[in-house]
Subunit: 209 residues, 2 copies
């Protein structure tokens, strides 16, 4: 089967809408993050090389490297969400006729649930990274494309809040509460201040329009 | 050239990131709206036909028709943004050697700017429509996929706020201030309460996880 990133937008959206459990919100979160990173890159690419913005060209080149790294990471995460979901479904499908099988099945489910907690947490972290980059794009980038930095921040924020939902679900099903609490704490750190920053960056963009 | 919706996600994101002015934030806004609508449809499709949700099956069928209509509308808007941008660029490229040519060029620019204000306004309206639908999906849909309704609301909200930026820009360049103010007022109505609703729907989803 073709990877999601190789599918057309129309086909992807059709599959998202369908009654198939994948792709779902986790892939959509990663796509929003990747799209946000792409928009930061666009602002950089339309700033670097312009005489008017020569003073920030070096900053924009570094910003571009960062946004492109996150873009590629988030593009891979579109698939990672589907992979870990399928892995989890396979575990739930394991036979549980004997007590031994039940115990083994439960162990495997719990192991994959840890993974299913870490995958959206990584997505949330990457989206939060893009959110920070969108601020620099809005502050220093070519003012003619500042609205694209504004779309980037909204897209990154939506990706972050969306990925968080999948962390909450899977962490909630974990028996290893120490691990779960640790990951929820990590998520809390990632999300801290995101709403305020998003609003600030959006307002900065609006003032520059 | 292939339409954006027919391009793969990877190719689309690469073009978004590139130094080409299109696709840009307007297409990204429409994609977020379309994705949000697709997620509402997904919740409906995974609710209709389940015995446990028989009581809401009819509501879910109506919701699905609405979300699918908006999904297709927003899918077309990915392209509409590029089309109107190109039209505007063509106008800016018109010769302006004589006073007559200057006047004609200005008239044409202003006419297309009106269109370039209405296109993202329509996108904002459609995103706001999806936002409302995501509430019903969160309230009545299969609780196993309630997180997808949560991703839908964040995606719709990001699409709405992103489309708004393009309304602000283009309305700001309009000489016909009555028309501009009217559209900004329309946008204000569309955006009214969106932030509060988004937060409420997101919290509702979180409590149901």
């Amino acid at each position: 089967m073709a990877e999601i990133k190789d599918k057309s937008i129309e086909v992807f959206l059709g599959e998202l809408a369908s009654m198939s459990a994948t792709p779902g919100g986790g892939s959509a979160a990663a796509l929003m993050g990747a799209q946000a990173a792409a928009l930061v890159s666009m602002v950089c690419n339309l700033t670097i090389g312009k005489p008017k913005y020569a003073a920030v060209a070096e900053d924009m080149k570094i910003l571009l490297m960062r946004s492109e790294t996150l873009r590629l990471e988030l593009l891979e995460m579109i698939k990672a969400d589907v992979d870990v979901f399928n892995k989890l479904m396979n575990c739930y499908g394991l036979v549980k006729a004997t007590d031994e099988e039940k115990a083994e099945r439960s162990l495997q489910i719990q192991a994959v649930l840890k993974e299913a907690t870490l995958v959206p947490l990584a997505c949330a972290k990457a989206c939060s990274g893009v959110l920070l980059l969108s601020k620099e794009a809005a502050e220093k980038g070519n003012v003619n494309v500042v609205s694209d930095a504004g779309v980037a921040v909204m897209s990154a924020y939506a990706g972050l809040k969306s990925a968080a939902l999948n962390v909450y679900i899977n962490a909630g099903s974990l028996k290893d509460r120490d691990f779960a609490e640790e990951q929820l704490e990590n998520l809390g750190l990632v999300m801290k201040g995101a709403e305020v920053s998003t609003e600030e960056i959006y307002q900065l963009v609006k003032e520059k329009l």
